[in-house]
Symmetry: C2
Subunit: 392 residues, 2 copies
């Protein structure tokens, strides 16, 4: 078991109608002038933005607005946000949306509180020393950014996607009303469920010594996501299932499910990252497309983990031997992905990469990880290429 720091200061206000408390929460944090940051039209069409504006008005908090955040949030909009925040003397950033909006808000928070180019933090040239406080009204259960210390931004110059992890950006509060996620398209709900499941799987599949309590929590979370995601495919308005998925999304990526471990494997995230760089694929769908191949490539390096997963999470009850039980567990995950309409191969993802493209992705994946990645099994460029080949 490894030493560990666990820090989740975000105040979660969870349940029906909680967006009405947004203004009071900003006030509690000392915010007087807000940047209201959001994405496209859905938050506006649903009336959510109006309810949030009303709650700010009730607390006599003034605000300026910046919409237009897109998936894989862009650095150019972050720059505009920073300029606006400085110009308008904004002291609190309120993200109304999903992971992209939250990540963009975090970037603006860093840029407005610090000197110099905010991209330096993402490029790894400097570490953030301060951030404006960020609050969240969550509309998509997926990224876990509402409680995490992570933000990922895409620099349009060269289309470079980079992350920055620092506790300074953990949101001060997260308003989570599961009803707000009921109008998501099924494909987006499914992608979110895969992303949530994968955040815990990446931590669970490891060669490090783990904690029984952490493993038990992780297994409970994975079972919950799998059973509730299947309900949501049939009943998108099921409040209880929406709530379970939403809370699972936050716990899955706030480090609770990795406590005492080695930080996790995250090779699938690395493999997906390069897919996302080369093709326009949704993050959750890309993860689903590579996971099975990754699992079959690595399981012999930590069979006990995969066996336990098959028995305790996927409900496999028998097999002619341990390898068959593990294979049944992997197949059960793939069957789950398919039940959500998610792909289990690059072909099902709609991609037909050439050998050269696979080699390029493997090279970039290894390079961006500093040569190797993974804990369940340490993967080098040749391993990454082999997994891409298997995933075809």
């Amino acid at each position: 078991m490894q030493n560990f720091t666990y820090y989740t200061p975000t105040k979660v206000v969870f349940g029906r109608g909680t967006e009405a408390q947004t203004g009071a929460l900003v006030r509690e944090q000392g915010g007087k002038k807000v940047l209201l940051h959001y994405g496209g039209g859905s938050a506006s069409r649903s009336g959510l933005l109006d309810r949030v504006r009303q709650s700010l008005r009730e607390q006599e908090i003034s605000w300026v607005e910046l919409g237009g955040v897109v998936p894989n949030p862009r650095l150019s909009l972050v720059y505009r946000g920073i300029e606006l925040v400085k110009q308008e003397q904004v002291d609190f950033i309120l993200a109304v949306g999903g992971g992209s909006v939250i990540d963009s808000a975090k970037a603006i928070g860093y840029g407005a509180a610090g000197e110099g180019d905010v991209w330096d933090y993402y490029a790894g040239k400097r570490k953030p020393q301060a951030s404006l406080p960020v609050g969240v009204v969550l509309t998509i259960a997926a990224s876990g950014s509402e409680m995490s210390n992570s933000t990922v931004i895409t620099n349009e110059e060269g289309w470079i996607k980079k992350g920055c992890r620092n506790d300074l950006c953990r949101p001060r509060f997260a308003v989570m009303n599961p009803e707000l996620t009921m109008t998501l398209p099924p494909y987006q709900t499914a992608c979110g469920c895969v992303d949530i499941l994968m955040h815990t799987m990446e931590r669970y599949f490891t060669s490090a010594q783990t904690m029984e309590l952490t493993d038990g929590i992780a297994e409970a979370l994975m079972r919950t996501v799998i059973s509730k995601a299947e309900i949501l495919m049939e009943e998108p308005d099921n409040y209880e299932a929406r709530a379970e998925i939403m809370w699972a999304g936050s716990l899955s990526h706030n480090d609770l499910t990795g406590f005492g471990g080695d930080g996790g494997d995250f090779a699938c995230h690395g493999l997906e990252h390069e897919l996302g760089g080369l093709y326009d694929v949704a993050h959750g769908a890309g993860l689903a497309a590579v996971w099975g191949s990754w699992a079959r490539y690595v399981y012999r390096s930590c069979p006990a983990r995969f066996l336990r997963f098959a028995l305790r999470v996927m409900g496999v009850v028998d097999g002619s031997g341990w390898e068959e039980i593990i294979e049944k567990g992997i197949e059960a995950v793939e069957a789950f992905f398919r039940s959500l309409g998610m792909p289990t191969s690059l072909r099902e993802l709609g991609l037909a990469p050439t050998e050269e493209e696979l080699a390029l992705m493997a090279r970039k994946c290894a390079a961006s990880a500093g040569g190797h990645k993974g804990s369940a099994r340490v993967l080098y460029e040749k391993d990454m290429l082999a997994i891409y080949e298997m995933a075809r």
Copy 2:
């Protein structure tokens, strides 16, 4: 499922040797002058206090000391602490110890930051508006006070024990080195394990609608506590088991295991509270002594919960019907208590209360709860008396 607020801002620094980081953590929180607050001689004898002093020295943080906290921490010492803090212009309170020391530190934090008598907050006359920041170096896994918003103080005038719950007192950081708990007497380790288990049981046994994810986390935590507590009875120096119990102690009472519920039952805590008031009993032992009787008195009001508990937590596999499975689950808990040397009746606790004493306790228990208590089954004075009778 109920709306819920979840707020656990405490930065947990967990693992071997982490007490060396204490000074740096105080500095990170802006502390310049510390009140070093502790109990009896064990923290001194073990060298822990010296290591903490050294870490303060290294950060050039000055401090004053106040030892002498006893179980059921006293108001008189809190008053002395408040005076000392004001006199010495202390800006940070560092608790080195278990729940009693932490609760005393929280009380001093309230008293030093507010006007008037600090007891008012415990007597329910006023609500705290501010607190000095509190940090913790934890030496006993039991109360969960290191992450909780609760503090319980005993006023020697009339020996009144009262609690105060407010997010202002949640510690800023908690240093948790499982090694520090290895020298506890076995009885104290056992009492701590019961306390931890009960903090989750009190939330788990409810008639409210719960969340699958919350239940799964609670069940994983209860299974972990039971299996690791039994290891500690044989191997008190087992680091992994100490670590599991220590982390379980924090998660058990920081509201994670009650998320989305109704706040829990807590009738056993109420029943034990009166035992503790009338006799000198350890909290964990008192809880163990009444739990079985409580469970048999209430299970018919929420049989599905008790059935699930028997099957998923206590590993009961069969029975001639649901009541037998439930009874086997209750018996398994009692067997666990006995394996720790804990009592399962008042007699085993060394008490032989008269009818008058039982009636007095039931009256006080009902009165202090405002007439009734409980969620698994709502208990009135006559029910409380019946449970005390059963527990004899």
